[in-house]
């Protein structure tokens, strides 16, 4: 069929996905700097598992394997899984979670473009529910020795207290939840080795690197400003409001934004086009909702970071959000409707 248009921009799904991967590189580099090279191994594990699962499923479903395998979407999922999981998680956890993401969360829903939930976040939530201990085992600051890390990852050598510690969010949450400790946010942040200048030690820099990558995606028009802006502003406002009211019980906005998955989520996870809202107003609502849920789960929930659950919950609302936020089309805006009749 030779229907119009006959001209096309030289763009492809592959190009979009590889730009997303490229934008993650600065964040990964800083990650390695602070927490060692284990994350690279995790990324490799997840990538291999994702590509294998993708190839197998594409063959099973009778889809063109080469075309879809190289579209880069499985790699994006894999990298996001690796980046949200602890870098010293046992190899089988990363692999199983990735397989689950590709097989169940992506292909059982119809593959590329059809999945209502972000596959990486499905993998995260399933893993943290099934293996809460392993999913909260983060390398201690300074535990960057590669061979020691690999021992934990591959030999299932149970991680020692010396090499692991809770993430800043986790530390804050557990200590605030113990009433007799009479801990205050300021006290905890000052006392704990995992806290840096404004957020978690190292994490604040990783967050800044994600921000840089995200801004580049914005400049490349791969994403729009709506989701990151709405997410970060909402998170800052809620966190700011509560920490002003009760500074001892609630961490401040900057801490929330540069810690945990917030920055990664704002620019790389919530912006997943397939499982996110598509209308401008819809994107604002979607991201603001995710921010609210993240803050609630972080502050009152049983899990250290609420980002993943918040994303899935908002994914659930997307059809409803999109349906109710359809922007007016050309010539059908309110002020126009009056005109011809006057």
């Amino acid at each position: 069929m030779n229907g119009s248009p006959h001209l096309h921009l030289p763009v492809s799904v592959r190009l979009v996905m590889f730009k997303v991967l490229a934008a993650l590189v600065p964040g990964i580099a800083v990650y390695v700097w602070f927490f060692g090279a284990a994350i690279l191994v995790q990324i490799a594990l997840a990538s291999a598992a994702a590509l294998a699962a993708e190839a197998a499923l594409l063959r099973l479903r009778g889809k063109p394997v080469a075309l879809f395998l190289t579209d880069g979407s499985a790699l994006v999922t894999a990298w996001l899984i690796a980046l949200t999981f602890p870098p010293i998680a046992p190899w089988w956890l990363t692999v199983t979670a990735t397989l689950f993401a590709i097989v169940v969360a992506k292909h059982l829903y119809g593959g590329l473009g059809q999945n209502p939930f972000n596959p990486a976040m499905v993998a995260f939530c399933v893993s943290i529910v099934a293996f809460p201990a392993l999913m909260t085992q983060w390398p201690a600051v300074g535990f960057t020795d590669f061979s020691a890390q690999m021992a934990v990852v591959f030999k299932s050598q149970s991680a020692q207290d010396a090499v692991t510690m809770a993430t800043p969010l986790d530390a804050l949450r557990t200590q605030l939840h113990v009433p007799e400790a009479r801990a205050t946010v300021a006290g905890i942040l000052g006392s704990h080795a995992s806290f840096g200048n404004i957020g978690g030690k190292g994490w604040e820099w990783i967050a800044l690197a994600y921000l840089a990558g995200g801004l580049w995606l914005l400049q490349q028009r791969i994403i729009t400003w709506h989701v990151p802006a709405a997410f970060l502003v909402t998170l800052a406002l809620i966190a700011g409001g509560f920490s002003l009211g009760e500074p001892d019980r609630f961490a401040g906005p900057v801490f929330h934004i540069v810690t945990g998955g917030a920055m990664l989520g704002a620019f790389f996870i919530l912006t997943d086009p397939v499982s996110g809202a598509t209308t401008p107003r819809g994107k604002l609502i979607f991201a603001a909702g995710a921010a609210l849920l993240t803050w609630i789960i972080r502050s009152f929930g049983a899990y250290p970071d609420g980002m993943a659950f918040a994303v899935l919950l908002m994914n659930l609302c997307v059809p409803l959000i999109d349906m109710n936020t359809q922007p007016p089309v050309f010539g059908r805006k309110a002020q126009q409707r009056e005109k011809p009749h006057d």
Binding site: S4, H6, H8, G113, T224, V274, Q326, P327, F330, G331
Partner: protein, 570 residues
């Protein structure tokens, strides 16, 4: 007064490729030995043929009379002899055939007597009639009859006239060259159009990538007061009628409404120029400027007699090796010509020689990833990916709810889609299907109404019949009873026979009532059957078949109309 510019949302910036075909001036294309002039070259109804085989015609002689008001005349592009009036294939995406007048030229180019008029002395009505009879239609590609667009709408006067010189489609330069070379004629034509609607304001929108055209038109407009030449930002589809009106006036005209209702109307510069020729020179529309570009050795613009075979024209431009097809119109909204031995029509603004190098084939279609690039590019501010989803699922109700008919098929969405989805094809499919369904529904409604009417009638008739019978029976019974009474009172008649008569008489009459009811039921069933299967029976009758053919033709026409909305996207 300097016009404030407004913005339209969306749009794209493809490479313009305007330089290649603007290096040489407009040249006159040689007169071909044979011309094929389609009778219908306007949106609206097809003109009626005024000539027959063997008849001699002069250049500019009317060969097709407008059929009704929503139509425009057609003229002989040169002098010669009519060879035939017969259906020929048209340059149309679905290779439609329609009646054409085939003329063998005598090479003498003898004009019919031309009667120029002073427009200022003419009434608007008389000028509108002249335009219709001179075959003036929108030359931007939509071929909407211009006199219709010049009729004052419900809102009253057309205060603002927008003249479209944007020419936003890549490669096409016929308007650009016309503005550079014949600005004076365009300005005179604008004067006539303005006079007809007595507009206060004229805004000529030209994309700012055509500095020569802007300068030429500004110079020409300097003498005529009240014509503003406004450079508009180069962004496809700035030359879409609605987009240009929006940019120049801020008014957004929704789908299904006419500019007239908003006090604004838009004409292409080529149309303005043709108006000048028709009124002030008395020359009907028998030629147009056509851009030949793409994979050709000699790109340029030619003034081409309507009806010239496209392949003869292409020889002038010398298509190069690698050309695999020809596109009529631009690369964004044009269509691939089914063949090249088809005539140039009033809609033919450009013929592009396409090659895989110039227009690389798209990669395989991937699933939509909802990236929103299409939404961002859509000048109609639609959600193309949602429309795609609904069109694909044949969920036409939803597609309509999401305003699929507001889509102007500009192709911006498909241009930017990373998944290579042929979005516009899906919309065209959905729109065509919906229009077909609509017509079927209308036909079914009419049939049902007929059926219900017949049902009601036959029921009523049966009821009346039954009532009549019942009345008869009652009357008979009464008569009998009445007959018996006197008989009873007459002592001379024995009582016994009366009772037997009374007992026996009602029986056959009851039967008859029952029989009538059965007959009514049978009649009803027959009527029902007749109404339910009229097609199968009708199809056999030859005159009905002709009727169906006619309906088909009308459908084709409606499709055609749907293809050419009353806009002039350039």
């Amino acid at each position: 007064m300097l016009a404030t510019l407004f913005k339209f949302r969306g749009g794209i910036k493809p490479d313009a490729h305007k330089d290649e075909s603007t290096r040489t001036p407009i040249a006159a294309a040689p007169l071909p030995a044979r011309l094929v002039v389609p009778l219908r070259q306007n949106a609206g109804s097809a003109p009626l043929a005024l000539v027959g085989p063997g008849q001699k015609v002069l250049k500019g002689e009317r060969i097709g009379a407008p059929e009704g008001n929503f139509s425009a005349a057609v003229h002989a592009p040169t002098s010669g002899t009519v060879l035939a009036v017969e259906p020929r294939m048209l340059p149309h995406p679905s290779a439609l055939s329609a009646p054409c007048v085939v003329i063998e030229s005598d090479g003498e180019e003898r004009w019919i007597e031309r009667t120029p008029v002073d427009y200022a002395a003419e009434s608007p009505d008389a000028l509108r009639d002249r335009l219709r009879d001179a075959g003036i239609v929108g030359l931007g590609g939509a071929t909407f009859p211009s006199h219709i667009k010049l009729q004052p709408g419900a809102a009253g006067r057309i205060g603002t006239l927008v003249i479209n010189g944007a020419e936003c489609e890549p490669w096409i330069t016929c308007d650009d060259m016309l503005m550079r070379e014949r600005a004076a004629g365009i300005v005179r034509g604008i004067g006539i159009l303005r006079h007809i609607v007595s507009a206060e304001r004229v805004l000529v929108g030209i994309e700012d990538n055509k500095p020569q055209a802007i300068a030429a038109l500004r110079a020409a407009a300097a003498q005529a007061h009240g014509i503003e030449v406004v450079p508009v930002p180069t962004r496809y589809p700035a030359g879409g009628e609605k987009q240009l009106i929006r940019v120049l006036t801020g008014i957004e005209i929704p789908y299904g409404r006419l500019g007239t209702e908003f006090g604004v109307q838009c004409f292409n510069v080529g149309t303005a120029y043709a108006t000048h020729r028709a009124i002030e020179l008395g020359e009907p529309l028998v030629s147009r400027i056509v851009t030949l570009a793409g994979n050709v050795a000699r790109p340029g613009n030619w003034e081409v007699p309507i009806g010239t075979p496209i392949d003869a024209l292409l020889e002038l431009a010398a298509p190069q090796a690698g050309t695999d097809r020809y596109i009529m119109g631009g690369p964004m909204m044009g269509f691939t010509l089914p063949r090249t031995d088809l005539p140039v029509t009033k809609a033919a603004n450009c013929i592009l020689a396409a090659s895989p190098a110039l227009f690389p084939p798209q990669g395989p279609e991937m699933p939509c990833i909802r990236c929103g690039a299409c939404t961002h590019a859509c000048p109609a501010e639609l959600q193309p990916h949602e429309l795609y989803w609904f069109a694909r699922a044949k969920n036409f109700g939803k597609a309509q709810e999401y305003h699929i008919f507001d889509c102007i098929e500009c192709g911006c969405c498909a241009y930017v889609c990373p998944s290579n989805i042929r979005l516009v094809d899906y919309y065209r499919f959905a729109k065509t299907s919906m229009r077909a369904l609509e017509r079927e529904k209308a036909a079914a409604d009419a049939a049902r109404e007929r059926f219900e009417f017949r049902n009601v009638r036959s029921e009523r008739e049966a009821k009346e019949k039954a009532e009549r019978l019942a009345a008869k029976t009652a009357a008979a019974r009464q008569a009998m009873a009445g007959g018996g009474q006197p008989a009873g009172t007459t002592p001379s008649v024995p009582a016994a026979p009366t009772t037997t008569a009374e007992a026996a008489a009602p029986l056959p009459q009851l039967d008859e009532a029952k029989r009538a009811l059965i007959a009514a039921a049978i009649e009803r069933a027959r009527a029902q059957k007749e109404a339910v299967q009229p097609k199968n029976i009708d199809n056999l009758a030859p005159e009905k078949r002709a009727e169906i053919r006619e309906i088909e033709a009308r459908r084709a026409q409606v499709r055609e109309l749907a293809k050419t909305p009353p806009e002039e996207p350039v």
